[in-house]
Subunit: 94 residues, 2 copies
């Protein structure tokens, strides 16, 4: 299992528009082979911080995800609304 | 539901010792009321980055967790091995 935390700080005025873009990204990604979980979260103290927390069956499934039509189309649009981002790929140890 | 990502960069030589401390913290926390998930992850590219990804029934359950004997004893020991840390508390939006 591969866990991903993709944390993004958005331009504050663009958060709502970003969430609308995420709606489609989340819905389509959840239908992908190898996708166990794909959820969007918002920081309770700073609403401009959004995080996608993901669970994939394998690194291969995650690699395939990043080549899909919806990923390669929607992520560049989201990037225009980002101030900064952090991506971590994890393995579970406990 | 409350989601927590507690990401910590550890002193590289202290990672194994930190994981041993986390063993007890994870085991005891999973027995707490209101704890849905409490898992330890390690970054696949940088093994000095550890992250606890948590799910709690409520903010109250999370507040109680931070007052437990195991939390108040083990977390200060872990802090001595940390170079930096980031804590985010999230609500699920999609």
């Amino acid at each position: 299992m591969v866990k991903v935390v993709a944390q993004n700080t958005m331009v504050p005025e663009k958060v709502e528009e970003a969430i609308r873009l995420y709606q489609e990204l989340v819905a389509k990604t959840r239908q992908e082979k190898g996708c166990i979980k794909y959820e969007l979260f918002q920081d309770v103290k700073d609403p401009s911080i959004l995080a996608v927390i993901e669970e994939w069956e394998s690194q291969e499934a995650l690699d395939m995800h990043m080549k899909t039509e919806h990923f390669t189309r929607i992520v560049p649009m989201l990037n225009e609304f980002k101030v900064s981002s952090n991506l971590n790929i994890y393995k579970k140890i406990i």
